[in-house]
């Protein structure tokens, strides 16, 4: 089948769907949707439709990136825009069906935004939202908007046109095209894709194309738009001269199933296998579920894992493969669909591109989004994320996941690029406020990286463990005055003495926290105080005398029986027995449990009747 035939068939199929009188309901069932409870919403929608005998088409989509609104459900009636509803529960789903499908009320009170040209009174358009306008959705262009399970849906929005285009080019022209776009991996910092492909093509022997879909951003793409990634795989394979490839997807039954289903559809229409689209190009793809390990972000380690060996990175050498992340490959397909010049227009002229980020932590609107390089970090955190939330002040941002840097609030004007994400591909941005102890968070990050060290380089294997131990001692009240200097020296040593980017970046959280928040370390070491009141050793839990109403909630929550009290008595925590587990804090319905650090709160020695303490105090 030629591409024209394929496209016409897909367009006809999509037109038939569009012109059918049946409304369509879209439910985000990607990882974040499922975590928010989308599956129970989905089953309620199905049962409501069956019960009310409504013929509607239910589509499971990927995530749009507004994870704070999950479960996100959209309803599209013929000739109307798609209306999105956020934080849908099974009950609100039923009332939306009753209102908009049985009746004709789009429920603007529940709706968040619309997608489409027409408008609905009282509901903003998606394109008007600042969180959308800030973005440059290249890799994420279809995520959450199309049916990831339908190849026709992808072709109808311009899909596989890029592949058709590249097959008409020579290999050299294809590589020249990607070079013009300036696409690189990790965005803005790594080797330009053009150079990587050229080097692979010149190398002797058979070549392979390896898709690396192991990070949360990559899985997000696989779940939301697997065909955009696979089109990129095919284009890159053609340009490198690879006839065989591996799609490495993190052990995740949902993402792997979506990728497998998409590959099956491709094989069925002749886009995978021998003689793709009637050309001489052939490509066979094997989908491999790879267990999670941080070191697999190293190309050489991933290649070894595919060979069935222990995934230890080796010194840079010629791999018989090009390894690219899903995020990059989804951008590759966009470059060939829309032109290299179009992509080069995003971000700064000398370093164009976009980057997918996962915004999480203490932020009002966490989610996943794609921004042009050069966008100030602060604009992303406040414009997309809505800032740290009411009544909180942002303290720091961990940019780049477990291998990233803590950036202070004063560094938020830094443009998105190598300065913000020096650690490579990971686009995780975690926002911390005054409630978070950076020493404690960094300690746990190092525990993770230490466990993930492959063990090849001594400084990474032992050094990350030592960094973790020193940090643990600081949080446990055993910190020594010269610990910060020791951490800095050791961190620099680990960086210098490690072969791969895991070891070279593992000390980043420690070194950056020391550089910007040294006073927090010193408060722990010298003043035996945790400013965020997180570290148990320096924190005292106590019950506020004026708030306690004498109910048994905290007493029942305490696993150590450390809380004394009774009906109508102000409860008292026995500091000797308290293990600082914190379970009493959320248990109190009146917010009477409080934390203090570095000072001793005034509390009675034994429970006193509610109200009596205040009176005595005044008298």
């Amino acid at each position: 089948m030629t591409f024209e035939q394929l496209k016409n068939r897909a367009l006809a199929e999509q037109d038939a769907l569009k012109n059918s009188p049946a409304p369509r309901i879209y439910v985000n069932t990607a990882a974040c949707g499922r975590a928010a409870g989308a599956l129970s919403v989905l089953s309620r929608i199905r049962s409501e439709l069956a019960q009310k005998k409504i013929a509607a088409c239910v589509v499971e989509t990927g995530c749009l990136g507004f994870c704070h609104l999950d479960p996100l459900v959209a309803v599209e009636k013929p000739g109307r825009p798609r209306v999105f509803y956020g934080r849908v529960t099974p009950d609100t789903a039923a009332s939306i069906i009753a209102g908009y499908l049985v009746g004709d009320d789009p429920r603007p009170d529940l709706a968040c935004f619309t997608f489409g040209e027409a408008k609905i009174d009282g509901v903003p358009s998606l394109f008007e939202l600042p969180a959308w306008a800030l973005q440059a959705r290249v890799a994420l262009r279809n995520c959450g908007l199309i049916d990831p399970g339908s190849i026709a849906g992808y072709i109808a929005v311009g899909g596989y046109a890029g592949l058709a285009k590249v097959l008409a080019m020579t290999l050299e022209e294809a590589i020249a095209e990607i070079a013009v776009s300036g696409l690189s991996e990790p965005a803005g910092a790594g080797l330009p894709a053009g150079e990587k492909w050229r080097a692979c093509r010149r190398a002797p022997g058979p070549k392979h194309l390896v898709l690396n879909a192991l990070t949360p951003e990559d899985l997000f793409l696989i779940e939301g738009d697997p065909h955009a990634v696979l089109e990129g795989v095919l284009i890159a394979a053609y340009a490198c001269g690879a006839e065989r490839g591996f799609a490495c997807v993190a052990e995740n039954p949902f993402a792997a199933a979506k990728l497998k289903a998409a590959a099956k559809q491709l094989a069925k229409v002749g886009l995978l296998g021998d003689g793709i689209l009637g050309s001489g190009f052939r490509f066979h793809l094997e989908i491999v579920e790879v267990p999670a390990a941080l070191v697999l972000n190293e190309e050489t380690a991933l290649w070894r894992a595919l060979q069935g060996e222990r995934p230890m990175p080796s010194p840079a050498g010629e791999l018989p493969a090009v390894v690219q992340r899903a995020e990059t490959l989804a951008a590759v397909s966009a470059v060939f669909q829309k032109g290299a010049a179009w992509y080069a227009g995003f971000g700064p002229k000398d370093n164009p591109g976009t980057k997918v980020l996962v915004l999480a932590g203490r932020v009002a609107r966490p989610g996943v989004a794609e921004f042009p390089l050069g966008t100030p970090l602060g604009e992303i955190v406040s414009g997309f994320g809505g800032g740290a939330g009411e009544g909180r002040s942002l303290k720091a941002v961990l940019a780049g996941g477990p291998l990233g840097n803590w950036l202070p609030a004063s560094a938020l004007d830094l443009p998105l690029g190598t300065e913000v994400l020096p650690s490579g591909g990971c686009g995780e941005i975690t926002v911390a406020t005054e409630e978070d102890c950076l020493v404690d968070l960094t300690r746990h990050i190092l525990a993770h990286t230490h466990a993930e060290s492959c063990g090849r380089c001594v400084l990474c294997r032992e050094g990350t463990g030592q960094l973790h131990e020193i940090l643990a001692e600081i949080t446990e009240g055993k910190g020594k005055p010269d610990d910060p200097d020791l951490l800095a020296d050791l961190g620099a040593g680990v960086k210098a003495g490690s072969l791969c980017s895991l070891g070279q970046n593992a000390p980043n959280p420690v070194l950056s926290a020391l550089a910007h928040f040294r006073s927090e370390f010193e408060a722990h070491i010298k003043r035996k105080r945790c400013p965020a009141r997180v570290c148990g050793k320096f924190t005292t839990f106590y019950i506020l005398l004026d708030r306690c109403r004498g109910c048994p909630a905290c007493r029942e929550a305490c696993p150590e029986a450390a809380i004394a009290g009774g009906e109508g008595l102000i409860h008292v925590i026995d500091q000797e027995k308290c293990t600082k587990c914190g379970l009493c804090l959320p248990a109190c319905p009146f917010g009477a449990v409080a934390k203090a650090s570095g000072l001793k709160p005034l509390t009675p020695a034994a429970p006193v009747p509610v109200g009596s303490w205040g009176k005595k105090g005044r008298a």
């Binding site: 999950d70 999670a292 932590g361 379970l583």
Partner: protein, 164 residues
Amino acid sequence: MVANQQQPLPKTAGGFPPDRSSLLSLLQKAQEEKGYLTREAVAEIARMLGLSPNEVYSVASFFAGFRFAPPGEHTVAVCLCPACRQQGAGLILKTIERELGITPGRTTSDKKYTLEAAPFCGCSPLAPVVAVDGGLHGRVTPIRAKELLAQTGACGASRTIPAR
């Protein structure tokens, strides 16, 4: 792909080409079948690929995802990534530890629950995240964590089981 091509090998190894590059897939398949990697499964994989069992163990033990002991009927994983930890994952882990009477990496003595600490969840915007038998649950509170345990069956019964 490279190793052991001289040795006579069966044409397929459990549906995969009989060379070392099939190792990960074979290990996953074996774990899927029994819930963990049994000694016999490892020996069988080693035989099919012409490797020693030690070589197979050396790869399998590298990944935290492979188990060498049978898991409980239900697996409860608490994500401890920075975003989850900030928003109370530690407290949730403690709640579950207390309910089940086990620490991460352990299985209750009635073989009902295995508790795991996960380094990342893949959906940190919904932190804190708990996965029960692979099903993700976001924005979990300690109370919700107890409910999730209760939904898997009689969690009250397991509370009496002493730690380890």
